[in-house]
């Protein structure tokens, strides 16, 4: 049993990490585009907001039609679902960098790219990081639903427990999810505090 549990935890983590990684890259790029291209910002923010308001079950069902059963569908679903906090935190962070600092950077002769990478992203990184944290913690629980679309992870153990009315099994699947969420939330909040120090 403990072998299955360990496997479940690892699969769960793997699916969530891959999804959040992809979502971070996509989300940060979308946030930057929204920040740079004025007329696109409302569109991009709207899309990521709408994605999140779709009930996760419905979203997964829709994706299943396209991608079939399995881990890939779950990852795609998580990516879409995790986008909002990352996009909106990136956008807000970049937008809220002090106008004086932006002015100074421009006045010193930094190009748009140099301003982004040397000033704007470093200064908004704590907020971007906090978006990634929210995405990660949310995804850990959403990923439990993977079992319904044939993906691996802790959902499988919980589902088996439900079917066999075995409380032990349900808890064995659920508790690691809660612990992982708490650990990540705590650890990443700590890092976030450290990051903020260097941007004020």
């Amino acid at each position: 049993m403990s072998g299955a549990l360990l496997e479940g935890i690892l699969e769960h983590m793997a699916i969530v990490s891959i999804a959040v990684l992809i979502s971070s890259v996509l989300g940060i790029i979308m946030g930057i585009i929204a920040y740079w291209v004025r007329f696109l910002d409302s569109v991009i923010l709207w899309v990521s907001e709408v994605l999140q308001t779709i009930p996760s079950l419905a979203l997964l069902a829709l994706l299943m039609i396209i991608f079939g059963l399995g881990d890939i569908t779950m990852i795609v679903g998580l990516v879409l679902y995790a986008l909002l906090p990352i996009v909106s935190n990136t956008y807000t962070g970049l937008k809220n960098v002090s106008p004086h600092l932006k002015d100074a950077a421009r006045g010193m002769g930094m190009s748009k790219m140099q301003r982004l990478f040397k000033v704007e992203i470093p200064l908004s990184f704590p907020l971007i990081f906090s978006g990634i944290k929210i995405a990660l913690v949310n995804s850990l629980s959403v990923a439990v639903m993977g079992v319904l679309i044939g993906a691996n992870g802790l959902g499988t153990i919980i589902y088996r427990g439900i079917q066999s009315r075995n409380m032990m099994n349900i808890l064995m699947g659920a508790i690691p999810v809660v612990i992982m969420a708490l650990v990540f939330d705590f650890g990443m909040s700590k890092i976030e505090k450290k990051l903020i120090k260097r941007t004020k």
Binding site: S98, H100, L101, D103, A104, A105, R106, G107, M108, G109, M110, S111, Q114, K118, V119, P122, L123, R198, T199, K200
Partner: protein
């Protein structure tokens, strides 16, 4: 060096700059002054193309700046803003070497630049280079802001109310530093302020703006003698005698703010060392709360001092003091009738603001008669 030709700028239907033309010579210290919203910042920002004018042309060294790539242009013009604008994620060293790095100077050169510049403002490299901006005082931060603008040796430096947020004492010393640096490095500086004291103290030429137009462009002396408009008179305020056109000047207008001070608890030997290293023959001695106690001269120490004794025992009160708002004439009279060759200028709270020596008096009189003398 910098030439404005009929420059105009509108936001919507409001004209912010109305047909501005002027010339700034190489090595000139030009101060833009005027009431809030008159267009000083806008004028300044057109020079490094942070703002593009709607009409008119701006030339630097005879070249139309719209023909240059704006990013490259800005790397050749230093820029200092009121809010200081140091990047909080970078150390002092990284902040100062931004433009040299953008220009791809080798690492070694960047570090040399930082060392030289920090030495220029008496902030030792080892102690300061690796600090973050939040670990510095406001005055130190703005010093770094100025150094950052100097880093790639741009011939032109733009400064937008750089000392506006600083306390008066820090501002005094930074003004003196920037003037010294400007003369030493022969920079052309365009400096925005709304403080007439600052303008009179720093400028070779003052450009007075109101409502997007230039009201008067003149040397400080000429502006004092012939202010072109009542609004300029109101800005000159205390510097004018009731309308008869003779400038009213105060002790503070002539004082040197670089004064060598020691606490009353210093030892005789330290004082002698300081005197010989700074090449002065007397020091100002302060009480524990930084108020003025008296002075001590090298003769007294040599005649009466024992090694290791506290300096407080040797302090004398022969030197005359005046308040910084004392009329210049009274201060001069006191100086001329005094045995010592300087008078001490005190702030209202009895701390030391500066001193007037016979040389600084002579220089001030010379400037009043013949304009700037070096």
């Amino acid at each position: 060096m910098i030439k404005f030709q009929n420059v105009s700028k509108c936001y919507g239907h409001t004209a912010i700059l109305k047909n501005i033309s002027f010339d700034i010579k190489q090595g000139e210290f030009v101060v833009l002054i005027g009431p809030s919203g008159c267009g000083k910042t806008t004028t300044l920002k057109t020079i490094n193309r942070l703002i593009e004018p709607d009409n008119g042309k701006i030339f630097i060294d005879g070249k139309d700046i719209t023909k240059a790539n704006p990013v490259e242009l800005r790397r050749t013009i230093g820029y200092v803003i009121q809010q200081i604008g140091l990047f909080p994620n970078m150390t002092v060293e990284q902040n100062i070497s931004i433009v040299p790095k953008l220009l791809k100077y080798p690492k070694q050169k960047c570090q040399e630049i930082v060392q030289d510049l920090l030495a220029l403002v008496d902030m030792p490299y080892e102690e300061n280079a690796h600090k973050y901006p939040t670990e510095l005082s406001g005055g130190q931060q703005q010093r770094i802001g100025v150094l950052r603008a100097l880093a790639a040796s741009p011939p032109i430096i733009l400064m937008d109310e750089p000392f506006g947020a600083l306390d008066p004492i820090t501002r005094d010393s930074l003004q003196e530093e920037i003037k010294r640096i400007q003369k030493k490095l022969k920079k052309t500086i365009v400096f925005v302020t709304h403080d007439m004291d600052e303008a009179l103290r720093l400028a070779d030429t003052i450009i007075f703006m109101n409502n997007g137009k230039i009201v008067q462009m003149a040397s400080p002396e000429e502006m004092l003698q012939n202010p072109a408009d009542s609004i300029i008179k109101s800005f000159l305020g205390k510097h004018m005698d009731n309308g008869n056109g003779v400038p009213k000047l105060f002790a503070e207008d002539f004082m040197k703010t670089k004064v060598f001070k020691v606490p009353r608890t210093s030892r005789t030997l330290e004082c002698i060392k300081l005197m010989s290293s700074k090449d002065v023959n007397s020091l100002v001695v302060l009480n524990d709360d930084d108020t003025y106690l008296g002075t001590v001269s090298i003769e007294d120490i040599k005649a009466l001092g024992k090694p290791g004794k506290e300096i407080a025992e040797l302090v004398t009160n022969d030197v005359i003091t005046v308040s910084r708002k004392e009329g210049a004439q009274i201060a001069f009279d006191k100086l001329l009738s005094s045995k010592s060759n300087y008078v001490i200028v005190l702030n209202d709270n009895q701390t030391v603001a500066g001193l007037i020596t016979r040389t600084s008096m002579a220089k001030a009189l010379g400037e009043a008669l013949w304009g700037e003398v070096l």
